[in-house]
């Protein structure tokens, strides 16, 4: 990718394209932004990095008029403005590509692009203009999409292009992209950066949000770092390094190696042969994956989010069905498309599962902690008295585990919703580890969790391993994978593209593997949808 950064940061007269002063914003008890200040110079690509939950999206949503700041000031081209709504932001020439796309799947690309800038009460004229404009943008920036395709039929990369087109067609001069590469294949990401370069050439100011340092270093002119709702540093990209940014992001030296003894590898617990998983849209998400996990070892799966790790984990847990291949547990139970199992049976075989998304899967946030404590174990004898549930047993168990895992506050009657993210994660861990599983499936164990809790969780996982459990760990945090795993598998586009012992692993090599070349830039046909009758 191009990296000829012309230092266009004008020194004297030119005011910043965007200046934010003292922005604060709370959501109820959560302070998402605290006294944030930011200056973005015109015609540059400005990166913002920060961990999950640092407040990046919130800040940009305020700039875009989607949320309203509790305090602070916004200046565009040096003039103070109030951005009361997205409309106001659009009128000021600000465009945004949201982390979660804001597209209407059932409408055509053209309709989506026109939404909000229809050019009159009737569509005919606007449609013609928009078509012409799309053709022009496609020529100028290589942003090609079929205007008549249904958005729902497009690949993610193409959908993102539609989002960019939406912003451009509204004449934006300042383009905000919120984690644009999280869902992209490496090729798609490279294409994106080419497009951003082209935009910058034509004077568009770009704010690029990400937590991937590689992208920041490769694509931006300057960078700001957020942590826990605050802006902690501003750097010119050439003057900083990945190490410095990483430290600023997390507020400590990264890559803390977990102290762990040599693994005592036992027998094979999980043996996967050509496991294939197909989603509801008939797309293969996991493609003929084979590997083993033994007792007493932690096997980490590294990869960019969306490359099939989640589906693999869910298939192993019995939540998704296989469409091909098989895996066997303990060498006794073989699971395949013909002989499926469900989470209930999986638990019976000694499998525990810490799901990636605790809010949507691991917890029923409206239930009190003790009811969450029996989630998945609701049929167990120890929690049932004949026909009735034994509530007292559940409460006592839950209270004891809360003590052990240092869940705060240690009150089994509080609804799960009122615990903080880290404590919620501990509730899930406590429940799953308490069963002393033979095989532990763990997804994103420390997502959104504070540092104290991270260390605790890491140590707990290692302790499980040392007690002889087989642990399969999925995480998008490379550091986490590297510090915890005994053996590392790298997944890309649904396949395992590399395997190595942790001792032999270095981040560069894994990074390359994660960005593994895969054939296509997904040029999916756009089947003629039955549009407006």
């Amino acid at each position: 990718m191009t990296s000829d950064h012309q230092q266009s940061m004008a020194g004297g007269g030119e005011p910043p394209a965007i200046e934010l002063k003292g922005i604060s914003k709370s959501f109820g008890p959560v302070q998402a932004n605290r006294n944030v200040t930011l200056r973005v110079m015109p015609g540059t690509i400005h990166g913002i990095v920060g961990e999950n939950g640092a407040g990046k999206s919130t800040l940009m949503s305020i700039l875009y008029g989607f949320y309203h700041a509790d305090a602070g000031e916004i200046l565009v081209d040096g003039t103070p403005v109030t951005i009361a709504s997205s409309r106001a932001a659009i009128d000021l020439g600000i465009g945004m590509v949201h982390q979660h796309f804001m597209l209407v799947d059932t409408m055509s690309v053209l309709d989506n692009v026109m939404l909000g800038s229809e050019g009159g009460a009737l569509l005919d004229k606007g449609e013609r203009a928009a078509r012409a404009e799309l053709a022009r943008l496609s020529r100028d920036y290589g942003l090609t999409v079929d205007p008549d395709a249904l958005v729902g039929d497009l690949s993610v990369g193409q959908q993102q292009r539609v989002e960019i087109l939406k912003a451009l067609i509204r004449g934006c001069r300042i383009l905000v992209l919120d984690e644009p590469t999280g869902v992209l294949t490496p090729q798609e990401a490279d294409r994106l950066f080419e497009i951003l370069d082209a935009l910058r050439e034509r004077g568009v100011t770009i704010i690029l949000i990400t937590h991937k340092l590689r992208e920041i270093l490769a694509a931006t002119d300057s960078v700001s770092v957020m942590r826990l709702g605050e802006m902690v540093a501003h750097r010119k990209t050439p003057e900083t390094s990945a190490e410095e940014l990483a430290e600023l992001m997390v507020g400590r030296k990264v890559l803390l190696r977990v102290d762990k003894p040599e693994p005592k590898i036992g027998e094979t617990i999980l043996q996967a042969d050509n496991v294939t998983v197909t989603d509801a849209q008939d797309v293969d998400r996991v493609k003929a994956v084979s590997f083993t996990v033994h007792a007493g070892e932690i096997v980490g799966i590294a990869g960019v989010a969306g490359n099939g790790q989640s589906e693999l984990l869910q298939a192993l847990a019995g939540i998704q069905r296989l469409s091909g291949g098989s895996f066997s547990i303990n060498g006794t139970r073989t699971v395949s498309a013909a002989t499926p199992y469900n989470p209930h049976e999986a638990r019976g075989l000694g499998i525990a599962h810490v799901p990636e998304d605790r809010h949507h899967m691991g917890l029923v946030t409206a239930f009190p902690a003790h009811e969450n404590h029996i989630l998945g174990h609701q049929d167990w004898d120890q929690y049932n008295n004949g026909l009735l549930l034994d509530r007292e047993a559940a409460i006592a168990d839950c209270a004891a585990e809360m003590e052990r895992y240092d869940v705060r506050p240690p009150n089994p009657h509080l609804p799960a919703a009122s615990f903080s993210g880290g404590n919620q994660q501990k509730l899930v861990l406590a429940r799953e580890l308490e069963t002393e599983p033979k095989l532990l499936l763990v997804g994103q164990p420390t997502r959104g969790v504070d540092i104290g809790a991270i260390e605790f969780i890491h140590n707990t996982l290692v302790a499980m391993r040392d007690q002889g459990a087989a642990v399969l760990l999925v995480s998008v945090e490379l550091e986490e994978i590297m510090s915890l795993s005994d053996r590392i598998l790298v997944m890309s586009d649904g396949r395992i593209v590399g395997e190595m012992m942790a001792a032999d692993a270095d981040p560069q090599r894994i990074g390359l593997m994660m960005a593994n070349i895969s054939e296509d830039d997904a040029p999916q046909g756009s089947p003629e949808g039955d549009k407006a009758a």
Binding site: A346, M361, V364, L375, L388, R391
Partner: protein, 368 residues
């Protein structure tokens, strides 16, 4: 139905519902005022009509019985995140089940032997009438609100067909079945009291009231104290978590709806076996719809539902009294009040939350 503002529990289950009902009653009072009558007087008449004499109490509790069953039916479905608007049709078809059992066996068996069979009939018929929409929701993704509405109409057409063409007592004009043998009637309250030497006036109140109370207790235990209730609540709150926990949401939806329909079908025990003693048209008289209001008001908890049913029993029976006593007010005023209760306790349930939160904030500034 997310709850936007967090309030202390006593406010949430005590103050807010009370405010909602007060608002509904206040608006109803305005309507009565607009009709040129005195709402206070109307309330007085209504209370007298509902509780002033023993027959009135009997009627009030008789209505209450129906509402408990339909309210429980709606609530059980709510716990699984399902909105069952079909209580009316399920009660109707449940009554058909009761009627068929008794018409087949009434000369042969006494009521106490018939009762369990009639309950099975009610549960089977009502249950199936709800389970089909449940199945369609679970396995075919058909919106349960729409399908249950459709099933109400289908039930109504079916019952008309059966009563007019098949079950009508020959030589009779009203589309009604023959009357059941007296030995098949559920004991009436006044008969039961007479046995223990207490003389009360005749009213439609019968043994089913006791059954309704038992059903409330059983539902409470089932929902909060059994693994199946746990499964239902998990599916209702978070279907993904249910799958994760090894609970099959589809099966759960199917069986929850079946259970919901069974409860609604029990209206047939009260109405057909207890009161009408024959099958007739429209004996459900809107009880199924009222069940929605009852469940909303009772916050889907059996205790709340029994209380809300009592309130609606009072409204229904007291409403009849209104009709007798006032020139301008008819019984349909009860429907109006019911509508306002659904509006304020259901659709506008959280309208007062910000207000109350602010008030509490002012009164107890120390709150975290």
């Amino acid at each position: 139905m997310s709850q936007p503002i967090k309030l202390p529990k006593w406010v949430d289950v005590g103050v807010i519902p009370a405010l909602n009902i007060l608002a509904a009653l206040a608006v109803s009072a305005l309507v009565i005022l607009a009709l040129g009558e005195n709402p206070i007087e109307a309330l007085d008449v209504m209370l007298y009509g509902a509780f002033g004499y023993d027959e009135a109490i009997g009627y009030t509790l008789y209505y209450t019985t129906n509402f408990i069953f339909t309210g429980l039916a709606v609530a059980v479905a709510f716990h699984a995140g399902l909105f069952n608007i079909g209580g009316e049709g399920q009660a109707y078809i449940g009554g058909l089940g009761v009627g068929l059992v008794i018409l087949a066996l009434d000369g042969l068996l006494p009521w106490y032997a018939l009762l369990p069979l009639a309950m099975i009939g009610a549960a089977l018929f009502g249950g199936i009438w709800a389970a089909v929409p449940g199945w369609l929701q679970a396995y075919r993704g058909s919106h349960i609100v729409i399908t249950t509405i459709m099933f109400n109409f289908i039930a109504s057409a079916l019952m008309v067909y059966l009563l007019v063409n098949v079950m009508i007592k020959p030589g009779q004009m009203s589309p009604e079945s023959r009357e059941f043998a007296e030995s098949a009637w559920l004991p009436m309250a006044h008969q039961m009291f007479a046995v223990i030497g207490i003389d009360v006036s005749r009213s439609p109140l019968n043994l089913s009231f006791v059954l309704a109370l038992i059903a409330s207790v059983l539902v409470a235990i089932f929902i909060w104290r059994t693994r199946w209730g746990y499964a239902i609540r998990t599916v209702g709150r978070n279907e993904t978590a249910a799958i994760y926990a090894g609970i099959d949401p589809k099966k759960t939806i199917f069986w929850t709806m079946a259970l919901s329909g069974m409860l609604a079908g029990m209206v047939g025990i009260n109405e057909i076996m207890g009161v009408q003693h024959k099958l007739l048209l429209n004996f459900t008289a809107g009880y199924g719809f009222t069940g929605i209001a009852v469940a909303l008001m009772g916050r889907n908890h059996p205790i709340g539902i029994v209380l809300a049913s009592l309130l609606f029993g009072t409204l229904y029976q007291g409403g009849a009294e209104l009709d007798f006593e006032f020139e301008q007010i008819t019984r349909d005023m009860v429907i109006v009040i019911q509508g306002f209760i659904i509006l304020f306790s259901g659709a506008l349930a959280y309208m007062f939350n910000p207000l109350v939160a602010r008030l509490i904030g002012r009164l107890m500034p120390a709150r975290g």
